[in-house]
Symmetry: C2
Subunit: 592 residues, 2 copies
């Protein structure tokens, strides 16, 4: 069974040196955050490593099970969940007015990385609850908020998001579930699929957020409303009482995340309460999308780190072969072989890049929400909007590579389930699909985030990258020079990409959409390289000041590895993008 | 449950137009092959599609099961196996003197693609038998050959390869199993792991080929001998009689290939017969390596084609969203979306490239074995030796991408096991590991295949590629011009790679080994692009002659897609390779 040790030193490095913890702490209400941060991470790390991680293995633990009376949570999850709730972790970054701890998203993001790394199946439950909390918090009436939020923020009740139907996946315009008014509420009917943690026995109530259509609603996306349908209706005292007519009729047999029940829910005249105004449900969903997508991007990061930890530990233990050029003498642990190091550094450097991208984005979320200067807040929001599809698409796609390398480092043992490496690959595989597939993120990136503002937000980012290039030019040594050379190419590629997208989005939309995934991956590689270059600059200054050479040298070398071994992909992706989608569209269906 | 339709038209196209079926047919004994080929493929396609493919699904079929009395083969496999044996498929490309059909490797390769695509777990059984046949055929005494080969060639008995031990995986120098002489035989003892089809109930005997050390053997690779240890010893009439003391003590719980029992075998003074001379066992294993690695490369191809067929069928059926730019009107099957086409063409074009690389290599195997001209045979063998690590490494690594895209095309349904897409990803994951990991292939490529002859064999290949570039220059049209532009860059990258490997292998071996995987992947992308360019040239000529425009236009467009969207990876891999492994080796173990 694999263990998990939260990388607290690295998390604090990223928060402090790259993601502007000081700036976040200067926002109103966050003054104490720098003093709290390390202690919070230490405590979260204990829960993650000691309680959640040991329950993660598919081997030796029973996953979620369907019964006619409802879903039974995976072995050990219920106890762990209540430790999680009692520790106050569920509402860490929720507002204090609803019993949350009111801490910044930056700190919440680091704890979420831990939950996801320790046990992705488990962590999906509070993640979905958070989405439901946001929907109610931002859009529901004060009455609904008062009735549901405190228990959801504490974690005593969990939440779900009911969007998908068999004919309506990426395309929610096709939602068919119906809601018929009856007195002060509605009767909701329809079948929802792929409902994560849609039913379970860990808590006494589960609050479903459900997209459905009113009888007179217009067709398409403009006729979808949002409802709260609790599993148990509340009595006059606000306690769960009568069972609502929503049933889990089956759970999916999935490739991974076996501890997370993925439910088919049947609503049959279930009592539901309208959230906000009619026909605005899809818009309400979009308001919480940034956070949900950031969290799935974090899953790509988290499971990559977990896979790296396991592979590294195996590479240090497993003895096989001799070092290159040595035909006799002692055999070596496989970490002595260059190719194993290539794989480990590909895992490590990309994981660190993902962390830096995610945490900096979380900081901008805090600034966007809490800055008292409107222009600062607006600029931060623009950065968040630009980065979210990159964080989600790039981190989850690279997570496939990293978890697969984790298997490869183990050789034949990686293919044996008991080792645990294969589970990370299986678990990670969902992350490029749910909460908007990679193509959905990519379309969002090229369309709403780059073309829509004529490349303005991207231009601001590029200027910051160019400032880093200037800092690199002024810094001494081979390593930073090598990083600068590669990053210069990368920034050039990203700039040219932006110009190409802006120029082609309207006249050649199919070309841009056909290349959108390549475009967002290019952006991810460059953003990752930029963040690691920033880390190398910080490390370089620390080294000059004589601080912790082992830690900071590793930061410089990791950044150089990424710059030389991975960042060159950006230029070839640009070559690819610029050819457009003509060949893709030229084949008839029969010619495939 | 997914179906499988053997791509016979494409197979014949590759055999005839790219892999030189005529040249093979001109070899002694193969005169009738061109007349037979289509009929053989049709019959094989029926067995693969109608018998083997329906048994492939993990969902709804019981996999291999261990019992104290031995392994019970997966549901339905025994009946299917006997149809396979009775059809004469097992010995298709085995010599006629041992009851084989004596057909060329080129044709055998196409049938193997079908078995692997239809049911990889099943196909591993005859694949391993073939390895054991080769070992006995080339190295054992006439007496052992007479006793074992006819039943193994017919398939009445199966064979296994017992190499790996817990401490000896990629590094076979660490093998510890012992063989003590006793009369005309030896008593073999030791534990072997990861023995594919190491035990089962489909046939009345299983013939184990086992690596072990004689009591006085030197240490390391020069002290390993090869033994035949049948599950049942033969009586005076050559029939299986007394049970030998080899037991399957467990089978692995694996990520995929659940129909293929992966056994731990315990040999306790098991009767074994020495193959060839003492201490030469590892060398004997190497003589059959090219074929085994070609066949695992074929698995990468086969499972990619299977994943493509399933994804294509889903993409044509699944309706979701509207075409780009259309905000109203009919929804479209997802094959109408540019990104789905990008994914399908990434799958299709790479699958076709893998097929062309594998089949041309198989043709060279036939020439190397059967040409009456020694220089021709030697040149063909040099090409085989160069190509084998590329076929194995590149096809299996790309197979990971293709099967993962197969999941992605399905969206959420891809994560549900019943769909079948996830199984292909799980099954494919072993192919980069067994029969020599990708790093082992890569080291073989840069060391024995490129540096060893100073780049001579690679130079011959590059000259053929340059001749294709000249043909492309003389051909009309945008498509071939675009292919030429990209392939020119690719060939330049491969040439520079070769020079770098030759120049650096001795002075900077760690740099070369650290970049070896990137090097072999670069070679794979360029070889694939070259073969598709050759296909485009043939197709262009056929189109000019007015033949089957739908088929041949698709060939040109597929080649152009690959040239524009995938081949640019070669140049960025070259940039990567040339930086060497310095950053990888610079970190201490503690800095990881």
């Amino acid at each position: 069974m694999s263990t998990y040790t939260a990388p607290i030193r690295d998390m604090l490095f990223v928060m402090t040196e790259l993601a502007g913890l000081d700036t976040v702490a200067a926002l109103p209400g966050f003054e104490e955050v720098p003093d709290l941060a390390e202690a919070v991470l230490e405590e979260a790390g204990k829960l993650a490593g000691e309680v959640l991680a040991p329950l993660n293995s598919d081997t030796g633990h029973t996953g979620a099970q369907w019964t006619a009376d409802g879903v039974i949570a995976a072995e050990g999850f219920k106890d762990a969940y209540w430790q999680f709730v009692e520790g106050g972790w569920n509402g860490l970054s929720c507002p204090a007015e609803f019993e949350g701890q009111g801490l910044p998203e930056l700190l919440g993001t680091a704890t979420h990385e831990m939950w996801q790394a320790a046990n992705m199946s488990f962590a999906l439950c509070p993640m979905l609850t958070m989405g439901a909390i946001e929907a109610i918090h931002h859009h529901a009436s004060d009455e609904l908020k008062a009735a549901y939020l405190p228990k959801m923020v504490s974690g005593e009740w969990t939440g779900t998001m009911n969007l998908t139907e068999p004919q309506a996946g990426s395309d929610l315009s096709a939602v068919r579930s119906k809601a018929v008014p009856e007195g002060d509420h509605y009767l909701v009917s329809g079948q929802k699929i792929f409902i994560t943690w849609g039913d379970h026995d860990m808590t006494e109530n589960t609050i479903h957020l459900v997209l459905a259509r009113l009888p007179d609603a217009p067709e398409g996306v403009k006729g979808i409303s949002l409802f709260v349908c609790p599993k148990f209706l509340l009595d006059a005292d606000g306690a769960p009482a009568q069972r609502n007519t929503v049933q889990c009729v089956s759970i999916e047999h999935k490739l991974g995340i076996h501890g997370s029940p993925t439910c088919v829910l049947a609503f049959e005249d279930a009592v539901g309460y309208l959230v906000g105004e009619p026909n605005k449900g899809l818009g309400y969903m979009f308001t919480m999308m940034n956070e949900a997508r950031l969290k799935v991007g974090l899953q790509g990061l988290a499971i990559s780190d977990r896979a790296y930890q396991l592979a590294l530990s195996y590479a240090k233990e497993r003895v096989q072969g001799r070092p290159a050029n040595a035909k006799a003498g002692d055999r070596t642990a496989i970490i002595g072989h260059a190719d194993i190091r290539r794989m480990l550094l590909t895992m490590k450097s990309q994981t660190e890049a993902m962390r830096a991208i995610a945490y900096t984005t979380a900081s901008y979320m805090d600034i966007a929400r809490h800055s008292e200067d409107a222009a600062t807040a607006a600029a931060a929001q623009a950065r968040v909007d630009l980065m979210i599809p990159i964080v989600k698409a790039w981190s989850t796609e690279v997570g496939q590579e990293v978890t697969s390398l984790g298997v490869q480092v183990h050789g034949g043992m990686g293919y044996v389930e008991e080792t645990g490496a294969a589970q990370f690959l299986r678990d990670a595989r969902i992350t490029t699909i749910y909460e908007g597939t990679t193509a959905i993120q990519a379309n969002d990136f090229v369309g709403r985030k780059v073309a829509h503002d004529g490349g303005a937000a991207l231009g601001v980012l590029l200027n910051e990258m160019k400032a880093t290039l200037e800092e690199l030019a002024a810094a001494p040594g081979d390593d930073l020079a090598a990083i600068r050379a590669s990053l210069t190419e990368g920034v050039r590629a990203l700039e040219e990409l932006g110009q190409w997208v802006v120029a082609n989005f309207k006249p050649n939309m199919v070309d841009v959409l056909g290349e959108a995934v390549n475009a967002v991956m290019l952006a991810g590689y460059v953003c990752g390289g930029w963040q690691l270059a920033r880390a190398a600059l910080v490390a370089n200054a620390k080294l000059a000041a004589g601080e912790d050479p082992a830690f900071y040298e590793a930061k410089v070398l990791t950044a150089r590895f990424y710059a030389e071994q991975l960042l060159p992909k950006a230029s070839s992706l640009l070559t690819t993008v610029k050819t457009g989608a003509r060949t893709m569209m030229a084949l008839t269906e029969e010619q495939f």
